[in-house]
C-alpha cells in the first residue's frame, strides 16, 4: 500500500564492511535466538532473522527471551470470542506477562489476579481519568469487595513529569495510610507509567505495581521493561529506577480515544524496532502504515504485539542496559535534546524521537555505515506516519551538544550513540565514531 517494491530491496553499499578493530559493541552477523514456546508462530521466529546479538563472549545469546501465544480461555469465549495475546517478559523471579487485546478492561479477573494486598492506588492524569478511571476501578473491585481503591489524578503532560508532581503521589499514598502490601496502578501514557513506577519503586522502599498503558507510545514501549523515572530541568529521565511491574495490561480499545498526534508519536517507537533489529517488521510497516494511521484494529494489534515481543526480548537479555538494551534508544539522544532544549511538552516524545531517528540515520550515512536507500526509506515511512523529519527550527548545535552531554549513555565522558550499520535491521551502540560526522549532522539540521 505504501512503500514501492523498489524500496523493499536491500542493496548493500561497498561502504558497509565492518571494521574488525572497532571496539564498540557490534550487532552484526546475528544468530537466531532459541524460542521457548511451541506456540511461537513462524512470524515471530522470523523477527529474529535480522535481530541483534551481542558479540561479547556471553552466554545470553541462547537464552530464552520473549514468548507469545494466542490465548482463548473460557472467559474470553464468554465475552464474545475476543482473542488476546500474552507476551512474557522473562526476568527470572521478576518475570511478568503483557496482556494484549480488545476489551481486556472488561475482564476483571485479569487485573485482579495481579493485585497484592487489599489497597490499590490508581495513578492517572486528568485526561485519562475522565474516560477510564471508573472502568478501571470497576475492574479492580467487581466481585472483589475486599479491595479498596484510592486514586491520584496528576496534570497531563511531559512538563509535569517532575519531582514536585511526583510528591503528590507520595502524599496521597501516605495520607491514605497505604502499606507495603498495597498495589499501585499506572493508568495512562508514558509519563504516568514512568512516574507511577518510580513512585512504586520508592514508596516504603518498594511496593507492587501494574501498568495499564492507554497510548500507542506506552503500549509499544514505555510500559514494558521496568524503566521508571522523572525528568530534571537539565535532562530527561535522569532520576529513576529499574523496577518491574507485576503485569502490563494493554486494552487496545483505549486507542479509540487517542488523539491523532499521540497515535503518530507512538508509531515512532514502532518504526524504531524495525530499524534496529527487525527488518521484516519494518517492511510490514512500509506496507501497512496507512492502515495504522487509519486505526485499523488488527493492524494496530499486530504492531503492538510485535513491538512488545521485540522489547521483551531485548529487556530479557539486558535488563539494566549494560549494552544491548541501549539500542532501543535509537534517535533518543537527539530526541531528548529536542525535548529538553525546546521545552518539555512542546513536542511529544515520539515526535522528538522521529527527528532524532532521522539525525541518527543521517549520521550513520555520513559515516558510510548504511546505504542511501535506507535513508530514503526512513524519511518516507516517518512522513507517512505524519511525524517530523527535522528538529524544531529554534534548536541550535550548542543546544544539542549541551543536553547530549548529560545523556545517560555517556560513559567516562564519551558520548555513545545508537547508529545504524549494515543492512536494514542492524545497528551498533558505540562511542567509536568520527566526531566530524556528528558535527556535520548537527550543522545540517540546525541553522545556528
Amino acid at each position: 500500500m505504501a512503500a514501492t517494491s523498489a524500496a523493499l530491496s536491500l542493496p548493500l553499499s561497498s561502504k558497509l564492511g565492518t571494521n574488525s578493530s572497532d571496539s564498540s559493541l557490534r550487532f552484526l552477523n546475528p544468530k537466531p535466538i532459541l524460542l521457548r514456546s511451541p506456540f511461537f508462530s513462524p512470524n515471530v521466529v522470523e523477527i529474529k532473522r535480522n535481530g541483534i546479538s551481542v558479540s561479547s563472549a556471553s552466554p545470553v545469546r541462547s537464552r530464552i527471551c520473549a514468548t507469545s501465544a494466542q490465548v482463548m480461555d473460557q472467559s474470553v469465549a464468554a465475552l464474545g470470542s475476543k482473542a488476546s495475546t500474552v507476551v512474557d517478559v522473562d526476568l527470572g523471579t521478576r518475570s511478568y506477562p503483557i496482556y494484549i487485546g480488545s476489551g481486556l478492561l472488561d475482564r476483571p479477573e485479569l487485573l485482579q489476579r495481579h493485585v497484592h494486598g487489599k489497597r490499590v492506588l490508581v495513578v492517572t492524569n486528568n485526561t485519562v481519568a475522565a474516560i477510564y478511571l471508573d472502568k478501571v476501578v470497576e475492574a479492580l473491585t467487581k466481585g472483589n469487595t475486599n479491595v479498596s481503591v484510592e486514586s491520584v489524578i496528576l496534570p497531563d503532560g511531559e512538563k509535569y513529569k517532575n519531582m514536585d508532581i511526583l510528591m503528590k503521589v507520595f502524599d496521597k499514598a501516605i495520607e491514605s495510610r497505604l502499606d507495603r502490601k498495597c498495589t499501585f496502578v499506572a493508568l495512562g501514557g508514558g509519563v504516568i507509567g514512568d512516574m507511577c513506577g518510580y513512585a512504586a519503586a520508592s514508596f516504603l522502599r518498594g511496593v507492587n505495581f501494574i501498568q495499564i498503558p492507554t497510548t500507542v507510545m506506552s503500549q509499544v514501549d514505555s510500559s514494558v521493561g521496568g524503566k521508571t523515572g522523572i525528568n530534571h530541568r537539565l535532562g530527561k529521565n535522569l532520576i529513576g529506577a529499574f523496577y518491574q511491574p507485576q503485569c502490563v495490561l494493554i486494552d487496545t480499545d483505549t486507542l479509540n480515544t487517542l488523539p491523532d498526534r499521540e497515535l503518530a508519536s507512538g508509531l515512532a517507537e514502532v518504526i524504531k524496532y524495525g530499524l534496529i533489529r527487525d527488518a521484516e517488521f519494518f517492511e510490514w510497516q512500509e506496507k501497512n502504515m496507512p492502515a495504522l494511521i487509519a486505526r485499523d484494529p488488527s493492524a494496530l494489534a499486530y504492531a503492538i504485539k510485535r513491538s512488545c515481543e521485540n522489547k521483551a526480548e531485548v529487556v530479557s537479555l539486558d535488563e539494566r542496559e549494560s549494552g544491548l538494551r541501549a539500542t532501543l534508544n535509537l534517535g533518543h539522544t537527539f530526541g531528548h535534546a529536542i525535548e529538553t532544549g525546546f521545552g518539555y511538552g512542546q513536542w511529544l516524545h515520539g515526535e522528538a524521537v522521529a527527528a532524532g531517528i532521522i539525525m541518527a540515520v543521517d549520521m550513520s550515512y555520513r559515516l558510510g555505515w548504511i546505504d542511501d536507500s535506507i535513508v530514503k526509506r526512513v524519511n518516507n515511512i516517518l512522513k507517512e506516519a505524519k511525524l517530523p523529519v527535522v528538529p524544531p527550527e529554534t534548536m541550535t548545535v550548542e543546544m544539542f551538544k549541551s543536553v547530549m552531554a548529560v545523556d545517560k549513555k555517556v560513559a567516562d565522558g564519551l558520548m555513545r550513540l545508537i547508529l545504524l550499520k549494515g543492512p536494514l535491521g542492524n545497528c551498533v551502540f558505540t562511542g567509536d565514531y568520527d566526531r566530524k560526522a556528528l558535527d556535520e549532522t548537527l550543522h545540517a539540521f540546525c541553522k545556528f
Copy 2:
C-alpha cells in the same frame, strides 16, 4: 563495672512459654548458624547462641551470613601495624566488605579499589566537611590522578532529610555531568548515608556508592544493609530504596570528633542488638558501658565490630525485610513517632529509639512475655549510656497512634511491633498481641 552480678542471671518467669497457635513470626528456640570462615572467633560463634532464627520452614537457617577476620596486610604493617577488621555482608552478587579500624582514611588503596569510573561525588554535611572532606578527597586521589572529585555539602541534621535537600545532590551530579560510571561517596552520619544512598539508587537509575560513616549510629547500624531514603512530613524513611554500597569504610578515629550526645545516640542501636539477638553482647555492654562512654578505643572498636556482625548476619538472611530484618527495628516504631511527632531533629534518632525501646520493653512485660529483671536491666543500661528512658513530655497517646499508623511495618492495616519474648536476647515481630497492652503502655508514658 556497671551491672550488678544479680542482673546477669536470667530467671525465667512462668509466663514465658510459647503459644503454638500464635500466627506471628517466632524467634524462640534458636539454633546456631553455621559460619563460613575458619577465622571466625569463638566469640562470634557465641553471639548466635541466643540469636534469632526464623521458625518458618525456610532454608535460611543454615545459610552463611557474616564472616569476620583480622586483617594484617603489608600496607597496614607499613602504616605502623594498625590492625583492621573486615566483616563481609553476604548478598550474592551484591556482597560487600565492611572495613573497621583506626586510621583507615590514611589508606587510600582501601577506598580506591571500590571506586568505579573516573568521577566521584562526595555527599557530606557542613559539620563533617569542615573536618574530614579534605582527608577523604586526598584518600580518593592520592597516587590516582585519573580520578576527579566533586562534592556537595548539605545542611546538617535530620530535619534536612527531605526531598528538597535531596534534589541538591541530583542538581550537583547533573551539573557536573556525572555519568553512570561515577561513584557517590557518603561521608557523614546516618542522614547523609541514607540520602546519598537513595540519590545513588536513583541517579541515572542507579550508580555505585560507598559509605564512610562518621558517627557511632551510622557505623553500627545505618551504613550497613542498604536501607536508603528520606523522610516525609508525615513519617520517617517513607520514601527510599534498598540499595547496597560497594563497601563500608569505618575509620574509628572519626569518633574522636563526635559530640557526646551523638555518641550516646549510637549506643542505643548497640544495646538493641544485645536485646534482640545477642545476650552475651548485652552482658558485655553492661560491664563496659563506662568504657564506651569514656570513648575507650578498643571498647568502641569491639562494639562496632560486633554490631556490624549482627547487622550483616540479619541482612544476609533477609535483605528486603520480609520478616527477620524487621527485628532490627526494636523501639523504632515508638521512636519514629517521637521523631515525627516531636519534630525531626529535636531529639537525635538514638535518643528517640532509646525511649522507644523502653516502651517496647514495658509492653512486652505487660503482655507477660518477659521477666521484670529484663525491664530493670534495660532501664539501667540506657541510663548509663546517658539516654532518655521516657518520651518527651509533649508526646500524647494520639500523636503516637497517628504516626505509628503509617509505619512501614503495618500490613493490611495491622500494626506489627518488635517485642521481647523469653530470655534476654530473644524477640518476636508480630501483629498478634493484646491491644490493651499497647494502650496501657502509651498511657503509662504519656500525660494525655
